[in-house]
């Protein structure tokens, strides 16, 4: 589903990704781990299409199609979702409005009718119940005054409503207490499906106690230097990153 070959990405004057290759199939959950500054968030932003991250070489293919030239909104409508590490507060834009506009943009792209108000509300409330979110969050400004945990739940809510084919969750576990972490994990697990791929970008292993990945990758200095099954995450937690990084450099 997602096929990245020899990807080089620059932001500002810095080359961050230096030949990253990654293949994620439908139905799989991959975890991308790595030390701070290794390029994890850059990878997430580049796949979502942020202008500040310039692809200087290599390819990003989604469903066999090169998406390098697509705007972020086109990628979103094709079914790529980025869960932000730092969800943006947008006072004055209602949470429900954004959810509905996002859903309708996608439906329109597929040639479907816009969702009616009643159906939308039913859908949103159903997904919120799953995530343990109070329906009153629908009428708040997008992430406005939300706690760290509420913001991350809101990201998962958007994902649950939009039902993307590829979800990249950037440090979704950071800043969460244990209840929020469990709720977020439950939301992610509920979305695991044969036709959907999920990429978890994380620094710590603890999210993986609740979401079992099929493949774990270690990213270091802009490249994937090691891949393994779920046991690799535990090993990284115990031994740190140095041994993998050194072995790769070795």
């Amino acid at each position: 589903m997602l096929n990245i070959e020899d990807l080089h990405v620059r932001t500002g004057d810095a080359d961050i990704l230096k030949g990253l290759s990654l293949s994620v199939n439908a139905g799989e959950v991959h975890a991308i781990m790595g030390p701070n500054g290794s390029g994890k968030s850059t990878l997430a932003q580049a796949v979502a299409g942020h202008d500040d991250y310039q692809v200087t070489a290599g390819r990003i293919e989604f469903d066999g199609k090169d998406i390098a030239e697509l705007d972020p909104e086109e990628r979103a409508r094709e079914g790529i979702f980025l869960g932000f590490q730092y969800p943006v507060e947008i006072p004055g834009v209602n949470n429900a409005y954004l959810l509905k506009a996002a859903l309708n943009a996608k439906r329109k792209h597929r040639g479907e009718d816009e969702i009616d108000a009643f159906e939308f509300l039913k859908l949103a409330k159903e997904k919120m119940a799953l995530l343990g979110m109070d329906p009153k969050f629908l009428n708040r400004g997008v992430n406005e005054g939300f706690s760290g945990g509420e913001k991350k739940r809101n990201e998962i809510l958007q994902m649950a409503v939009l039902e993307p084919r590829l979800a990249i969750l950037d440090e979704t576990d950071s800043g969460l207490d244990i209840d929020a972490l469990k709720a977020v994990a439950e939301g992610v697990n509920a979305l695991r499906a044969e036709d959907r791929a999920i990429v978890l970008v994380t620094h710590y292993q603890r999210l993986l106690d609740y979401i079992t990945p099929d493949v774990v990758h270690v990213l270091s200095d802009g490249r994937i230097v090691h891949s393994g099954d779920k046991t690799l995450a535990t090993e990284l937690e115990e031994r740190g990153y140095d041994w993998v990084v050194e072995a790769a450099a070795g």
Binding site: A48, G49, H50, D51, D71, P72, E73, R75, A76, R77, F81, L82, F84, P87, V88, I90, P91, G92, V93, L98, A101, A102, A105, K106, H109, G141, Q158, L162
Partner: protein, 423 residues
Amino acid sequence: MNGLDLTRLKEHVSGQGPSALDPIRERAIASLESDGLPSTRHEDWKYTDLSVVAQISDAWLANPAAPISTTAADSLLAALVDDGEVDWLLLRNGNIEADGVKELAGVSVSRLSDGAHKPQLTTPLAALNAALISDGLVIDIESTPERPLGLLFLDDAADSPGLSQTRVDIRIAAEASAELIEYHASFGDNEHYGNAVLTLDVAAAATVRHLRVQNRSRAHSQTQRLDVRLARDARFLSASFDLGGKLTRNDLDVDLVEAGAHAEFRGLYLSGDGQHMDNHARVDHRVGPASSRQEYRGILFGRARAVWNGKAVVHEGADGTDAEQANHNLLLSEHAEIDTKPELEIYAEDVRCSHGTTVGQLDEKALFYLRSRGLAADDARRLLVRAFAAETLRSVPIPALTDHLGGILEHRLADIKDIPLNV
């Protein structure tokens, strides 16, 4: 002297009724003769040139034709009156309409020419106003009215240059609570100058909720002054919207004269091609404790010009003052210009004062966030501009006219053509 033809003005005024206004007219003319209108050399008028005001006034004095009612003005009037949410008093083309003085429970409405009320003349523009008014409204709100009271300033200038001078003095009795709406609208493409002078005297423990809407013709100019005086524990809560007009200058002066007074006012101005919008707001803290908050927001696009000057003066002994001033501007075009200046003068010791201004473009992070959810770039930009305006819209202290205001604001926002990503 700024061009104003005082000889012609005196000729026009002499013999104009009602004679009860003669003393104030004489005072006004004497004041104009000694001071004239302020020029751009005056600090408070540095960015707003009143020579256009003098020109239109002179043109009108040379030919003071009665304006012909426009159908657009008639339709707005009908729509607002039919809506039935507000008790309207109509000031059309500077005249108090016959049904503008009506019986309302708890409210006494009279005319300045009745002679019981002696108006203050605080500035040269207030003097110009007093010299040329046909009459003024005096409104006493004795107890909490059932419905919001609306002042509709409606001007037509389709055929010849127009001039309207309006004066309204309002007193709110102690412990009363009133909702007050000022609606300034005008129609027609000929030149027009409107000059409105209002005073609002709020007695102890009374509350005024105030909404001001200015949506005048893009060919018309206006100056407006509102002086608010707050007694002990009185509250003034206000939101103001400037959407139309060519040259617009608003002066809002709030005087906190007794302890416990609280003023909280916000403003939103949308200035586009060929528009000049100047907001000067001043708060005088004469005693403490008392508090004031002001926040103005501006959206500038095309070849727009805007000015904001927010001043708080904390007088000697006004300990316990809490004053905040803020001005935020979205600059959506490289051709737009804003001059913004917060001012604090503090002569007391135990005070809490803060001020801040920002001038910027749309938040890039928010734009990417919206686009990453599938919203087209242009839709995302418009949504962020609307969101910026919505912050003021949701602070309106009066529920009446919500839909109408949302509608005209949306209509005006649709005038913003291209929103560049970076200016």
